[in-house]
Point group: C2
Chain length 144, copies 2
DNA sequence: AAGCTGAATGAGACTGGGTATCATCCGGGC
DNA sequence: GCCCGGATGATACCCAGTCTCATTCAGCTT
C-alpha cells in the first residue's frame, strides 16, 4: 500500500506537494472498487486511525478532482458520489447494483450534440452524460 | 396569478390535494423564467409574506418533481437547481448565462446508448444528459 | 545538514440544503 | 356542517462541504 500509485504520480506531476495525508487519501480511494461517498472516505480514515482531518479529506478530493483522476457523479437517488477514473474527457456507465463503473468515450455523442446545436441554436460548450444500469457480472448473477 | 395553471391541473389529476400553499409554490415557480434554487424559492416566499414554511416549500417541490413538471439539474458549478418543464422524458440545454433552458427530445441518444450497451455489456436502464452553453439570444447579445 | 517559506494540515466552528417531528389545520368526500 | 387523513408550519436536526487560524512540514536554497 505504500508504493507510488497513479495518484501520487499525478499529484507530483501537477506541482502539488506529495504529502502524507494526500497519499493516505489516495490510498483510501484506490482501495475502493466502485463509487464512494465523502462520508465513506471519512469513515475509512477514522477507522484506520490515520489522524486525517475532515477538511483535509475534502481538500485532497478537490485536488484529485481537479487533476481529473477522480470525478463526482450524481446518483439517481440524488446523492453525490466520487469515482476514480482516467483523466481524459469521458463518461461513465455506473452499475446500480455493485457500484463499479466503466469509462466510455464519446461514442457518437459528438454527433448528437452537433444535432442539438443545429436544432436549438445554442452553442453547447459543456455536457454531462451519466448512464446507470447493470454491469455484465451483476446481470449474470441476477439471472442465476 | 390565480387562474389554474398547468401545475394545478397536474396536482389535481394525480390525486394530490389542491391546497393553498401548493398553489402558491407553483405560482412562485411559474414566475421564474430559467432555473432556480431552493434558496431563491424560499426567499421569494418570505418576501411575499406568504407564511409558507420551509418544509412546505420542499414538500411541494418533491410533489412537483414526482409529477415530472419540475426537474432537478446539477449545474456545472455543482449546485442543485430546479427547472419547470414538460413531464415527458427528455433532456435540457441550459444557458449558462441567463439560466433559461430548452427541452430536447432524445435526439439520437437512443442509438448512442444502444452502442454503449453493445460495447460494455451493461444493460442501461436510466441515463441523464445535461448540456450547458449559450442560448441564441445570449449569443447575439454577446456578439453585439 | 540546517534554514527558510509558503503550501498543507487539523480542529472545530460554520453554512446551506434538505429532512424529521409533532401538534394543529383544512380539503373535500360524505 | 362533519369528519378524517393528508397537508401544514415551526423548529430542531442532520449531513455534506467550507472557512478560519494557528501549527506543521515539503522541498528548495545554501
Amino acid at each position: 500500500m505504500s508504493e507510488r500509485g497513479p495518484f501520487d504520480d499525478a499529484l507530483g506531476a501537477a506541482g502539488y506537494r506529495l504529502t502524507g495525508p494526500r497519499r493516505a487519501v489516495a490510498d483510501l480511494i484506490a482501495a475502493h472498487d466502485g463509487h464512494f461517498t465523502s462520508a465513506e472516505l471519512l469513515a475509512d480514515a477514522r477507522s484506520r486511525r490515520l489522524g486525517i482531518g475532515r477538511a483535509t479529506v475534502f481538500r485532497a478530493l478537490d485536488v484529485l478532482l481537479e487533476l481529473g483522476v477522480v470525478e463526482r457523479i450524481d446518483l439517481p437517488s440524488g446523492e453525490h458520489a466520487y469515482l476514480a477514473c482516467e483523466p481524459s474527457h469521458h463518461h461513465h456507465v455506473v452499475c446500480s447494483r455493485c457500484g463499479r463503473a466503466t469509462d466510455i468515450e464519446d461514442a457518437g455523442l459528438r454527433g448528437v450534440v452537433d444535432d442539438i446545436e443545429r436544432r436549438t441554436g445554442y452553442r453547447v460548450d459543456r455536457h454531462r452524460l451519466e448512464l446507470f444500469g447493470l454491469c455484465p457480472s451483476c446481470r449474470s448473477e441476477q439471472t442465476a
